[in-house]
Symmetry: D2
Subunit: 264 residues, 4 copies
Amino acid sequence: NCPLTLIGGPCVIESGDFTLFMAEQIAKVCDRLGISFIFKSSFDKANRTSINSFRGQNLETGLQILQRVKEEVGVPVLTDIHESYQAATVAEVVDVLQIPAFLCRQTDLLLAAAATGKVVNVKKGQFLGPWDMKNVVRKLESGGTKRILLTERGTSFGYNTLVVDFRSLPQMREFGYPVVFDATHSVQMPGGQGDKSGGQRQFVPYLARAAAAIGIDALFMEVHENPDTAPSDGPNMIPLAELESVLKQVLNVRNSLQAVPTTV
Amino acid sequence: NCPLTLIGGPCVIESGDFTLFMAEQIAKVCDRLGISFIFKSSFDKANRTSINSFRGQNLETGLQILQRVKEEVGVPVLTDIHESYQAATVAEVVDVLQIPAFLCRQTDLLLAAAATGKVVNVKKGQFLGPWDMKNVVRKLESGGTKRILLTERGTSFGYNTLVVDFRSLPQMREFGYPVVFDATHSVQMPGGQGDKSGGQRQFVPYLARAAAAIGIDALFMEVHENPDTAPSDGPNMIPLAELESVLKQVLNVRNSLQAVPTTV
Amino acid sequence: NCPLTLIGGPCVIESGDFTLFMAEQIAKVCDRLGISFIFKSSFDKANRTSINSFRGQNLETGLQILQRVKEEVGVPVLTDIHESYQAATVAEVVDVLQIPAFLCRQTDLLLAAAATGKVVNVKKGQFLGPWDMKNVVRKLESGGTKRILLTERGTSFGYNTLVVDFRSLPQMREFGYPVVFDATHSVQMPGGQGDKSGGQRQFVPYLARAAAAIGIDALFMEVHENPDTAPSDGPNMIPLAELESVLKQVLNVRNSLQAVPTTV
Amino acid sequence: NCPLTLIGGPCVIESGDFTLFMAEQIAKVCDRLGISFIFKSSFDKANRTSINSFRGQNLETGLQILQRVKEEVGVPVLTDIHESYQAATVAEVVDVLQIPAFLCRQTDLLLAAAATGKVVNVKKGQFLGPWDMKNVVRKLESGGTKRILLTERGTSFGYNTLVVDFRSLPQMREFGYPVVFDATHSVQMPGGQGDKSGGQRQFVPYLARAAAAIGIDALFMEVHENPDTAPSDGPNMIPLAELESVLKQVLNVRNSLQAVPTTV
């Protein structure tokens, strides 16, 4: 019954001006639709497929830009961390610390994130069953936090392919924390283009609607003004111009669950 | 924009009276909700996990019972065939011939089904990608029919487990035929109980709603008055008493797609 | 400690002369190496990817050619059946009836094969765990036969890809019957070329050696004088000219197991 | 044609005395068989399934124990690192730095390891195809090293299960570096016991022999005097008492490849 939250933004922090522009545009769409908005962008793409890929701004510059988003757009911000030393610094600026899927079992990283007192969003590893996330939750809880989000972003299915097992959403919700569906990484084709990942942007609206029909607390989508020229995750990000349409579809599906007693 | 169709019934034909009872009960629910109804039940479970499992009535008795359903309940009926010699006989009674997933590439079976002129519903093999179904469609078309339904019922994911890749529904729809989501076999755990298949009935409403949010023409669900005592597929069939609730949820989600321009 | 058996031949029966030629050539190689030989070729490719693919000779012609192989080359022959009515007729000629992987759970087909009294070779379904084959074995045993071979030919791994889980060989051997490794279908890429299957012939020697190191009773390989022009399974068959080299490698690995007490 | 190398030892560093004991015992076996030996043990299990699992010694103590192994047993040592700050410190003692599978795409970690000038052994992520390791190799090369080992340790296959695709060994070898087969983690069942991982120790000899038949430069096996009481990875480690038997089998298979021209 809570309003939907969107966690969204361009995959990686490019320039300050572009980042601000994107945050403002997405915020406007969310305002119109009554959706809560958390801005997401990465200061560092620490596990890019190839060494030659753009990695983003350095930590300091990235955080300065995220600070501007908070102040000038007035929305909470989320970014991901990759080693435990980054947690405290990043937590000085961001509202939500994100743990990447590959790193979701790294105990030190989880404990460092928990210690900040900020909300921690953990992406379910592509190599884990939904029930395996209970151990991740316990690691965070043992670090003293109950401010936890759990995100589904697809599971390894053969080579260079992910599949979303939507049973994971109700299963992860049983751990007692809000669940998030990452609709754009779920259509990634990891490493599918040799030295970079491919993606199937065209399926984002379908999977986002399906997740809404299952029952989610937040939707995660990477959005870019022009995904085809974006430095990271272009093939799976959705264009800014389509954001409102996708969100409307998701809201309509989500609202339809209110109309009857629903198994959630 | 077409009304939803339910393909439903108990997995296997038990007694004539029970079969009639189930058909009537399901028909009443569908009437109340404005859903089209095709009654499904198998005269023979030809690929049961174990040799000791109940296989159903013989062909002749099974068809007599299906004939009674047609006449006394007034609904179209569907059953599955396993060898090509059965097609013509079965087609004298049923309205839809179903090709089981394991057999979806058997050319003779497809051609025999196509030759009857009846609607043919093919389940996508657990071992096929959605695009591979194009070759199945072409086999049927080459047999002279365009009366084709394509059903998603889950894909092999490791051992004894299926996963639904919901991208398959829009992909199969591109072949130009109606698509069906089989919500009860999709939660089957094939062979998962040693000498019989397990199932996760509790996820049926979630996956059925997700399919409705993606966009389907028909929903397939096996329904039983008392699944826990059913001779086949008990762990994944839904109880008759829950059918109406599940269908209402599905209809609400489906109707919500009408409210905005939707990517389907 | 038994000598190795090769089950081999071109995928599908082409002309009688070519079939005889291949049988003679393979028999010579096996003679030189002290390997038992069972000639394999299909009279019908009943589940080709596409309707336009060559399906082989009809049943009668195919069996006549296999009869000539038996008489003129003096080796036992194997072919596969697809519907239960074929079992008795085929058994008049062949020594081993083979059940295709997609059909390995079809009870009627298994029982019809068992009833012939001939050896039955069942390929493990791509959708089954090795332990699931126990139920297949029981079906055959309940049909009155103990003359059973169990063949590993790869398991579904994502889309259009198979993977061999070599743990299946010792697991299936525990059922008390000889195990076979199908080295050429294991490198198939089902449907991987759109309207036909691809294959990775270059990995056949590796996987055949690995199977020999695990422990097998027979090796199954499709062999063709010129795979690149073969009407079926060209991408995964090995050329006749390479057969002897592959078999020598396999024999050497297999013999090395005798030298020390081996966990088999 | 190079002699085989064993990378082996108990999963995690327990006491100094026990670690020394294990190193000595394994070294003796390798000496007898003419196998090169690199001692492996982890100072920290940074990604244990559960927060309550034993993580090992701290970095300083762990390195002191590894230093004793080098000096007192006279063998090179390997350990794994989890964050980039550890690389330089660890490299003061160990001969081979290992990058865990979950972390194989973390660019900073790879570059930090490369910068030490020590050999770097990268485990292929359970979520990667063999060809994807080319990008990992390039990251290391761009960091200035050519001292690289690539290890196969199984690929995600459904939930809580790994499968070894042995085609990965020849594919990874094409990148120009030695390939290693990790026979004990390949039989792990990640998270398969709820709050810890299960394993299938009984399949280790089979898979190790299969890898030898494919062609490997080194074999990785975790070994423990009493795996059933070991604090980590007990279900998949092999007992010290069986080490010599397994290695003999592997050597016999490996030597058999020399006898004929082999496709490697």
